[in-house]
Subunit: 159 residues, 2 copies
C-alpha cells in the first residue's frame, strides 16, 4: 500500500509505543488508515494472543481499540484543521479513557478489522467509537476518549 | 510466597491466556491474591511496554485490569459460595465489559500494584472495581464486568 498510515507520520520520539510504534520491535506495530469517514486497521493476532483455546485475548482487543483510537484521534485532529499529518504544529494524543464491550468471543486465527468513527472533536479532546470485525461479524465495540498531550509533557519528551 | 495465586487454580485448558495463563510462555502470567477484602497483583512492566518515553503502555494497563479483574471475579465467585477455588463445580469467567480511566501517566520502570474490590456478585455476573498504584500514586482506575462462561462453551473447551 503506497498510502502512509497515521502511525507513519508520528515522529521518532512518539514511535516507541508497544501498540502502534513502528520503532518498537516487540510491539504490535498497528497501522491505521482513512476509509472515507471511517478509519480502518487490519491486524492478525499471533497464536499466543489467546484467551481460552480458539479465541483472542481480550487485552489485545482492548489494545487495538486503544491505539487505533488514538491514531484516529490524531488524524481527526489534523482533518478538523484541514491540514496534513506532517504539517506543523504537531498534534499528539494520549488515551484518557477506554471502554470495551466484548459482545461475543473473537475467534483466533483470522485477520481482524478494527474500525473507527469520530464521534466528537472538541478542543483538545477527541472521542472515537470503534468496533472489531472477525469474518464479517462484529465481536467487540469500544470507545476511546483521547486528549492532546499537555504542552509541558511534550516539551519534556523533546528534550 | 507459599500461597497459591487465583490463576494457579485454573485448570490447564484455562491456563493459556496471554494475560494470566501460567502455560503461556509469551504472556504476562500475572498472579492475583486476596489481601483482606481487596485483591492484589504485583507486576513489573518490561522496558518495551512503553507508550511514550518514560511511561507505561495503556494497553498493558488495560490488560492488567482485565485479567486481575477476571481472576478476582473467579475468586469472589468461590468466596460467595464459601468454598475453595479447587472445589467442584468449577467457576470460569470471561470479560463482558472493561472500562479504564487513565488518571495520569504511569511511570515506566517501577513495579506496579493492581488492586481490586468486588462491587457486585449477582448470579453469573461479577463486577470488580480496580486501580493501579505506581510508587504510592493511583494512576489508573478501571472496572470489569465478568460473566461465567456459558456451560456449552465450557463443554466445547473440555472436548
Amino acid at each position: 500500500m503506497a498510502e502512509k498510515a497515521f502511525q507513519d507520520f508520528y515522529p521518532d520520539h512518539m514511535a516507541h509505543c508497544y501498540g502502534c510504534g513502528r520503532l518498537n520491535e516487540y510491539g504490535h506495530q498497528i497501522k491505521s488508515y482513512w476509509d472515507g469517514d471511517e478509519s480502518v486497521c487490519n491486524f492478525q493476532p499471533k497464536p499466543y494472543h489467546i484467551a481460552i483455546p480458539g479465541y483472542v485475548y481480550g487485552g489485545l482487543l482492548a489494545s487495538l481499540i486503544d491505539c487505533h483510537g488514538t491514531g484516529t484521534a490524531a488524524a481527526a485532529g489534523y482533518r478538523a484543521e484541514n491540514r496534513s499529518m506532517d504539517s506543523e504544529p504537531p498534534l499528539r494524543y494520549l488515551t484518557a479513557s477506554l471502554h470495551v464491550d466484548y459482545l461475543k468471543p473473537t475467534p483466533l486465527g483470522l485477520a481482524l478489522e478494527v474500525r473507527g468513527k469520530v464521534k466528537e472533536v472538541a478542543g483538545r479532546k477527541v472521542v472515537i467509537d470503534e468496533w472489531i470485525v472477525a469474518n464479517g461479524v462484529i465481536t467487540v465495540r469500544g470507545s476511546v476518549v483521547a486528549v492532546q498531550i499537555p504542552d509541558e509533557m511534550l516539551k519534556e519528551l523533546l528534550n
